[in-house]
């Protein structure tokens, strides 16, 4: 990892408002690679976007878990996509249901779920992208595995829905046998997990057309379509130090260590990118 020198004249730390799933990577990957002090604040992606839009937060750098959020509520003139992630099925190897998933592996993880032999957890699709991405995954999996039943119909039930933090808690305290999570989370926390084919795990930017067949209608009436998981970031206050931090953040090697994927095409810019950034 490159080391960015601190620029004089700035005493405040650089503030980064980021999606919750980036917390560990930023805290323990990005921060140590910088000499500039940074303050990382993380909440759900949707919430941070909204708080920035409402003027309640004024971070130097904003990083969200879905580039779509930069199409509203926040609408910056440009942004950079810097990492992707994939969905996995994490399981608790100490539980009966968890072992069934492990035994079934990437080829048949869904069978014990359909049979109702696993207590499953997923996040609320109304609350965060992980929730509806899980539904996309199930829809794509029905086609991919050519199952008899529609997995998106057969597997979900209301009992499985949790907010993200609660899902993790339940999983870690043994309340559920298996959960759909982001890969980085499973890696960070040493969960046992089943990796899924890229055709369904929403990780491959090149498959965006395939993914786009799945959709979900949010309570607000807005329809989201399946798309690759892509983390996007933007600078909101411009100065040299911030730019240095931003450059490190979107280019950093650290991302892979924390379970993210960084395709070769990344960082990928959209909009009127200022020259200083691209250099």
């Amino acid at each position: 990892a490159g080391v960015v020198g601190s620029a004089g004249g700035r005493s405040d730390p650089v503030s980064i408002l980021a999606a919750g799933s980036l917390t560990n990577a930023f805290e323990h990957g990005l921060r140590p690679s910088l000499t500039t002090p940074v303050q990382v604040e993380t909440h759900g992606s949707a919430r941070i976007a909204r708080m920035v839009a409402d003027g309640q937060k004024d971070p130097d750098i904003l990083a969200v878990a879905d580039a779509a959020l930069f199409d509203g509520p926040v609408q910056p003139s440009w942004f950079a996509e810097f990492a992707t992630n994939s969905l996995v099925v994490a399981y608790n190897p100490d539980s009966e249901g968890g072992r069934r998933i492990a035994d079934a592996g990437a080829g048949g993880w869904f069978r014990p779920m359909v049979d109702g032999l696993v207590s499953l957890g997923r996040t609320d699709p109304d609350l965060d992208p992980l929730g509806y991405r899980t539904l996309f995954l199930l829809e794509l999996a029905s086609d991919y595995y050519e199952t008899d039943v529609d997995l998106r119909e057969a597997i979900p039930s209301r009992e499985q829905r949790y907010p993200e933090t609660q899902l993790v808690s339940q999983f870690e305290t043994g309340g559920i046998d298996a959960a759909f999570t982001y890969r980085n989370m499973a890696v960070e926390r040493d969960y046992e997990f089943v990796s899924l084919p890229s055709a369904i795990d929403l990780s491959d930017p090149t498959r965006s057309d395939e993914y786009a067949s799945a959709r979900y209608t949010l309570p607000s009436g807005k329809v989201v379509t399946g798309s690759p998981i892509s983390y996007a970031s933007v600078i909101r206050n411009r100065d040299e130090t911030i730019t240095d931090v931003f450059t490190e953040q979107i280019a950093g090697e650290y991302l892979r260590e924390f379970g993210f994927s960084v395709p070769d095409t990344y960082p990928q810019f959209t909009g009127n990118v200022p020259d200083t950034i691209i250099d």
């Binding site: 509520p73 207590s119 109304d126 609350l127 209301r158 949790y162």
Partner: protein, 270 residues
């Protein structure tokens, strides 16, 4: 031999001091009222009515009211005996147990949620026994009440303890020397005399219960209470949708608290 006193010297000065002091209270009151007012007046009555019509909001309101009432009741029923015992315990035990009692306040919601899950989660001993008897301890009204009680009951205990300690022990002896046993004395003398303090505790517990979010969302995302509903609305549709629900919550809470204080006054008055 009789020292004279400069009696009226600086009376007006001092009176001003009292006013200045009371001014501090006014500042605090503003600190409560202004944000609330901004919450209230920024919303159109129309938006609020709209939210009221939403069945999810209506059901959350019911859940909140029911569970907060239940939690306040549970906190009272279990908390008063503990407070009574603490009030009569000696110094060291008292200090230590009091510290334990307020710990649920100290724990951040995520930790309380986690530790509660380790106690009553579906895979735990208690959770399984309850499930075997058809009672779900999480994702149920019971779960909500468990979470709220954990967080809110310390108010009843701590406040009631102070109130019990304030009751003149001579009055309790008087009752007992009239042949009434300790339970009767407790019920008819100590409890009514400590009532204002206890009521304060119940008020706090009720308010905290109806506003509880952190532990509740851990133990029972469903059935949704108002705070969870507000959080969901906020996360899905933003401030504009969440605030009217918050206004409804505030309305319900104020109504409930006014009823509580009004009803609560009776035991003393009669």
């Amino acid at each position: 031999m009789f020292p004279t006193r400069s009696s009226t010297e600086s009376v007006s000065d001092r009176f001003d001091w009292l006013s200045v002091t009371l001014l501090l209270g006014g500042v605090l009151l503003c600190y409560y009222v202004v944000p609330l007012a901004s919450l209230l007046f920024a919303r159109s009555p129309h938006a609020i009515a709209g939210q009221l019509a939403d069945p999810a909001v209506a059901s959350a309101a019911t859940t909140s009211l029911v569970t907060a009432t239940a939690s306040a009741a549970v906190a009272t029923i279990f908390g008063l005996p503990l407070a009574y015992w603490l009030a009569s315990a000696d110094g060291r035990t008292e200090t230590l147990v009091t510290a334990v009692v307020v710990l649920p306040l100290v724990l951040p919601p995520i930790v309380s949620g986690m530790v509660l899950l380790t106690l009553v989660g579906p895979e735990t001993f208690l959770g399984e026994i309850a499930a075997a008897n058809g009672v779900a301890l999480t994702r149920s009204l019971v779960g909500v009440v468990l979470a709220q009680t954990f967080v809110a009951s310390p108010f009843v205990v701590v406040t009631a303890k102070a109130a019990f300690e304030g009751v003149d022990s001579n009055l309790q002896y008087a009752s007992r020397s009239l042949g009434k046993d300790r339970l009767t004395t407790l019920r008819r003398i100590t409890l009514p005399l400590a009532w204002p303090g206890i009521l304060a505790g119940i008020t706090l517990a009720f308010a905290r219960s109806i506003g509880e979010f952190g532990a509740t969302v851990m133990l029972a995302y469903y059935p949704r209470t108002m705070p969870v509903q507000i959080w969901v609305s906020f996360s899905t549709r933003g401030l504009e949708n969440a605030f009217p629900i918050a206004v409804i919550l505030v309305g319900i809470a104020v109504a409930a608290l006014v009823i509580l204080t009004t009803l609560g006054r009776n035991p003393l008055a009669s």
